[in-house]
């Protein structure tokens, strides 16, 4: 969308600009100065405002809605209820499975969770809509709700057979093991808590729909809109130039999106709908609450004989979410016997969703605490324990690791942290009235791969434009794609402008699962390579080209200038050359798909996740790895835990931009500190409602809670994981932080807290 002023961002060293250089975020100046225009800041002629009315019960039926007062309130254009909103068609899910229902109503008659949208008011101004929404009267037939996993009515849930992972005879080997530990680990409902709220602006022009909406997946969401309204995919344009945080929550078109788009259609005017903060806690799912039991049997030398793992996550009454709890459990350690099974339990909540490292994050909390418990039981250093049980290959897939620099991570992290100086006994380190604890844990995240395409244009003035419908939610897509194009084409990075976040650009799949950088650098590398080939081909063959007479078989482009690699003949800037041959632009579209891919397959590839490539495809098992070392200080009177030091060593393969990778790792670590110590959606059990759905009461870490964080890259290029050798960055670092902190708290206090978050009342 936006052409960035690269001059601010480009720094002194030319190295900075190449792939692997520490170029600062090219979108940074625009964001800092306020010039960056987010989707919801779009100003449109005739814009109207919609405000949602949410259910105040968690289960039951809407028996009546009286909207008369709202309808006659000043400025009100329409009150939409389940009966008056236009009928939408059922849309397929993110795997591409068609909807079981032919129609879809985003306003509920049957309430399955508190806060569910049941009506919406559209008015000329936002204030009028807010005031009128408060006038909508709703009557319910309430039925008993299942509020959470501990609800007596919740039951054992539904077994998810696809999650079962077993080899050997885990139960028997556990029973026979000389040393055994078994404990239960719980994580609460957590929220993505992005600063930018969810919301959208929808505008219809005839059968064409334009949506401005923060999105982690333009093509996927455009598909959903197209199916809801029965218009061709091409008729829907999604615009999402910047995203103020998504963390997994902004990949799908949701009920409120449908309400706004339907309202715009019904009124024939553009509609803006933005969820208020409490609605951001009830309109889409956070991380599901989880429960795990981990039983480990080992011999006296610490060698694991068996792991038996059972997991449960909550899901919604009318929607399925599986948080894969055995994902880390099954690959982190070598064990001859293993069993992992998982159930999901339906409760009255909005369908849980993806939050940074879904699955791996809670999974690691279980296994990485359990291994610490085993180490303590055996009197073995927790780091040593992990080395004793180091998995030399993927124990589940039984395949070689593509790369696994975890041993290196342990070594580098331990060295930088000073782990060797740790006194092993709990409660043995203190500073005045502060108990000091050192803990560690490992983390991992699979390399999720998919395909993408990009357009690279060389313009007459020598500048380069990269276009893609992928997005930048702060992770640095604008920057690394500029670096990739600059390096591939041999032009200065300030000559490259990257345009993202418009579904009319070259297509891209979901930005999630830490896959985008690997996919998109590959696509830009290809497209830029094709553009370069065309440029050089033209230079060698066009009769107007001054290089044509050279009889060279190749030329090179460096610093935006074309010359023979042997140094003979003329040297022209790209602009001079384009003028000489009379070309306005050279455009190349590159994608990472096999040439034989059909149009339908391409569509499915970008608009569903069904075509993702498994991380264990072929001969290799591909993952990122990390080791976290943490120091906590626990006040012996107050039970308050503060993290005072973090050293993390991480293997994300090759880093396209170490500065941005470090920022993402640190962001993950900070989020992990919040998860360990603060975050929890607290449900009123009588009403089934989250009562801390705002940023004052849903605790997130402040700057004062975050110590200096040292990150160390131990990765090496992994040719099996991506075109340029990178593995995943964005989600890795949040995996393993919470158990490292919990283990440090145990070391400080001798108390094992197995329920997150570790709040002070659990320690006093």
């Amino acid at each position: 969308m936006t052409v960035h002023d690269m001059k601010h961002a480009a720094s002194d060293s030319a190295r900075l600009e190449a792939v692997g250089g520490r170029l600062s975020r090219v979108d940074g100046p625009a964001k800092i100065t306020g010039a960056a225009k987010y989707a919801l800041e779009q100003q449109l002629e005739g814009l109207t405002h919609a405000v949602l009315v949410g259910a105040t019960i968690a289960a039951g039926k809407v028996s009546a809605i009286d909207s008369r007062a709202a309808e006659t309130a000043p400025g009100v254009l329409a009150v939409l209820t389940p009966d008056t909103i236009m009928e939408l068609k059922g849309a397929s899910d993110w795997l591409g499975n068609p909807s079981p229902q032919p129609t879809y109503n985003p306003l509920a008659r049957e309430v399955t969770y508190s806060g569910q949208h049941i009506a919406a008011v559209v008015a000329e101004t936002f204030e009028q809509a807010v005031a009128a929404a408060a006038l909508v009267k709703v009557w319910y037939d309430e039925t008993p709700a299942i509020v959470d996993l501990s609800d007596g009515k919740a039951g054992d849930g539904i077994p998810i057979d696809a999650m079962t992972k077993e080899w050997g005879d885990a139960e028997a080997a556990f029973a026979a093991a000389p040393v055994r530990i078994c404990a239960a680990y719980n994580t609460p409902r957590e929220f993505q808590a992005a600063m930018e709220p969810h919301g959208l602006i929808a505008r219809w022009e005839g059968d064409a729909l334009t949506i401005w909406e923060p999105s982690q997946w333009l093509d996927g969401m455009a598909r959903t809109y197209a199916e809801w309204f029965g218009v061709p995919f091409e008729n829907v344009r999604l615009v999402s130039p910047y995203i103020g945080g998504g963390f997994g929550s902004k990949a799908l078109a949701l009920a409120h999106s449908a309400v706004a788009a339907a309202a715009a259609k019904m009124l024939g005017r553009p509609v803006k709908l933005v969820l208020n903060r409490p609605q951001n806690f009830t309109s889409y799912g956070g991380r599901a609450a989880t429960r795990q039991t981990v039983a480990i049997g080992a011999d006296r030398d610490g060698r694991i004989q068996s792991i038996v793992h059972r997991g449960v996550n909550e899901t919604a009454v009318d929607g399925m979410w599986v948080e894969p709890l055995g994902s880390v459990t099954s690959i982190m350690y070598a064990t001859p016997n293993f069993s992992s099974k998982q159930n999901v339990v339906r409760v009255n909540t909005v369908v849980p969703g993806a939050k940074r490292a879904p699955g791996e994050n809670p999974s690691a909390f279980g296994i990485e605490c359990a291994i610490d418990e085993l180490a303590h039981e055996l009197g073995i250093d927790p780091l040593e324990m992990r080395l004793i049980n180091y998995a030399e290959q993927d124990p589940h897939a039984k395949k070689a690791w593509s790369t696994r620099q975890l041993r290196e991570a342990f070594a580098a992290g331990a060295e930088a942290f000073g782990w060797a100086k740790r006194s092993p006994q709990p409660r043995s380190m203190r500073d005045g009235r502060q108990l000091i604890g050192w803990g560690m844990a490992a983390g991992t995240y699979p390399v999720r791969r998919a395909h993408g395409e990009a357009v690279v244009k060389l313009l007459a003035d020598g500048s380069v434009v990269v276009e893609s419908s992928s997005i930048d939610m702060g992770q640095g897509t604008y920057t690394i794609l500029a670096q990739t194009a600059a390096e591939t084409l041999g032009v200065p990075v300030e000559n490259v402008s990257v345009k993202l976040g418009d579904s009319h650009f070259a297509r891209a799949g979901v930005t999630g699962g830490s896959r985008l950088a690997g996919v998109m650098t590959g696509a830009v590398y290809k497209a830029a390579g094709q553009a370069l080939d065309e440029l050089i081909g033209l230079a060698l063959s066009d009769p107007r080209s001054p290089f044509q007479k050279l009889q060279a078989n190749t030329l090179q482009v460096r610093d935006g200038r074309i010359a023979s690699s042997r140094g003979e003949g003329p040297e022209l800037s790209i602009a001079e050359f384009m003028a000489a041959v009379g070309r306005e632009q050279i455009e190349a579209k590159g994608d990472t798909l096999p040439a034989s891919t059909t149009a339908e397959e391409r569509y499915a590839n970008y608009t569903t996740i069904a075509k993702s490539i498994p991380h264990t495809e072929g001969d290799w098992s591909r993952h990122s790895w990390c080791a976290h070392f943490v120091e906590v200080r626990v006040d012996e009177d107050f039970g308050t835990v503060r993290v005072s030091r973090v050293v993390s060593a991480l293997d994300s393969g090759r880093l396209y931009n170490p500065k941005l990778a470090e920022s993402q790792w640190k962001g993950g670590i900070i989020m992990g500190i919040g998860q360990a110590l603060l975050e929890e959606g607290i449900v009123d059990r009588r009403h089934g409602r989250i009562v801390n759905g705002n940023f004052a009461d849903y605790m997130l870490p402040t700057n004062a809670d975050i110590p200096d964080i040292q990150t160390i890259s131990v990765g090496i290029p992994d040719p099996h994981s991506s075109a340029l050798g990178g593995k995943g960055v964005g989600e890795l670092a949040i995996v393993g932080i919470a158990p490292a902190i919990a283990n440090a708290v145990f070391h400080a206090t001798g108390k094992r807290v197995r329920d997150l978050p570790i709040t002070l009342e659990k320690l006093i």
């Binding site: 105040t56 000043p74 400025g75 508190s114 101004t125 204030e127 009028q128 005031a131 408060a134 409490p278 009235r433 006040d635 009177d637 107050f638 039970g639 308050t640 503060r642 110590l677 603060l678 607290i682 449900v683 009123d684 059990r685 009588r686 009403h687 409602r689 009562v691 801390n692 004052a696 009461d697 605790m699 870490p701 402040t702 700057n703 004062a704 809670d705 709040t759 002070l760 009342e761 006093i764």
Partner: protein, 327 residues
């Protein structure tokens, strides 16, 4: 639209006259009022902006007393060198409150008047029952999520915690609030809920806080505010203590001591039982800890807030011990 009229008062008299109108509310820094208006809790018919009244933001400090104008900003008072010198607990209570942005906006008058953080109080759409908001409607918190609720000064009508920090330091040092016609001890200005949870302050229609006065004392000079909270910044107290200490010339025996608690009571909570138990005693850790337990006399918990009963005495003890160490 929820319409209201806006009136800018340019004198205290004008503010008082306007404040007597039914449905009128004063606007100072706006950090509480606008927040509550957004939640649907505050629905003023008239907003009287007092932030432009001249002369109400002065901070006047001598060894004898501090006089702080009602419109003085929290950050301004916290940073005042004489406040820091002569009333350190007041400065510390202020800078540990809220965030830098809020402290730059908010006034000390507004700070005293801030409302409870009880989540049920703040969500009328989902929880109509709240005696504080709607007298007689019941209390949604009792039987619900009570982790932040009070254990002292509670009633069957309401268990909401008074969330502020400054007022805790003020009651420890016998500060007064100046309402023009009347001056009241801050301790008496705040009302425990009893059967009338909606009445939080002894303030009458048409009254405006003009200043806070704090008498100087040796205990105020050697004082501290210790705030324990879930995170390190930008968070209300799980329990807090304002403590002042004056020792005899032997440097050990307590001559005067002031103790007040925050985060655990329905109003800023002076604990004289602890003061009485320690006056004349030597400052010894075991004695201090034992005396601090007296603060919890009459404490009643509602489940999830039980930890406050264990926590609060420890906060008092640590604050006293900290002052003792700085002898």
């Amino acid at each position: 639209m929820r319409d209201f009229s806006y009136l800018r008062a340019d004198s205290i008299e004008a503010a008082r006259n306007a404040a007597a109108l039914p449905g009128a509310m004063l606007l100072a820094g706006g950090t509480t009022l606008i927040d509550l208006a957004k939640c649907g809790v505050a629905e003023p018919s008239t907003v009287i902006d007092i932030s432009h009244i001249e002369g109400l933001n002065a901070v006047d400090v001598t060894a004898d007393r501090a006089v702080i104008g009602a419109l003085a900003r929290m950050s301004h008072v916290a940073d005042n060198p004489q406040v820091r010198n002569l009333f350190p607990a007041v400065s510390e209570a202020l800078w540990q409150a809220a965030s830098a942005q809020l402290r730059n906006m908010a006034t000390v008058g507004g700070n005293l008047m801030q409302r409870t953080r009880c989540p049920y109080f703040r969500d009328p759409a989902n929880f109509p029952a709240c005696n504080k908001r709607a007298p007689g409607s019941g209390c949604s918190a009792i039987g619900g999520v009570t982790r932040g609720h009070a254990v002292l000064g509670v009633s069957e009508a309401c268990i909401a915690t008074y969330p502020g920090d400054l007022a805790v330091a003020l009651v420890a040092f016998d500060a007064e609030v100046d309402l023009g016609e009347r001056k009241l001890k801050v301790e008496d200005f705040f009302l425990a809920p009893g059967a009338t949870a909606e009445q939080e302050h002894d303030i009458r229609p048409g009254e405006v806080i003009t200043a806070i006065e704090i008498p100087g004392s040796a205990a105020a000079r050697r004082s501290t505010y210790l705030k324990v909270r879930d995170r390190q910044s930008y968070e209300f107290a799980a329990a807090s203590a304002a403590v002042g200490l004056e020792l005899e010339s032997d440097g050990r025996t307590v001559r005067d001591i002031r103790v007040a608690l925050g985060g655990v009571a329905t109003k800023p909570w002076r604990v004289r039982a602890v003061e009485d138990a320690l006056r004349g005693k030597a400052l010894d850790e075991a004695i201090v800890r034992e005396a601090s337990e007296l603060a919890m006399e009459g404490a009643v918990d509602h489940g999830a807030n039980h930890y406050k009963i264990a926590l609060a005495p420890r906060v008092i003890a640590r604050a006293i011990l900290k002052l003792g160490e700085t002898a």
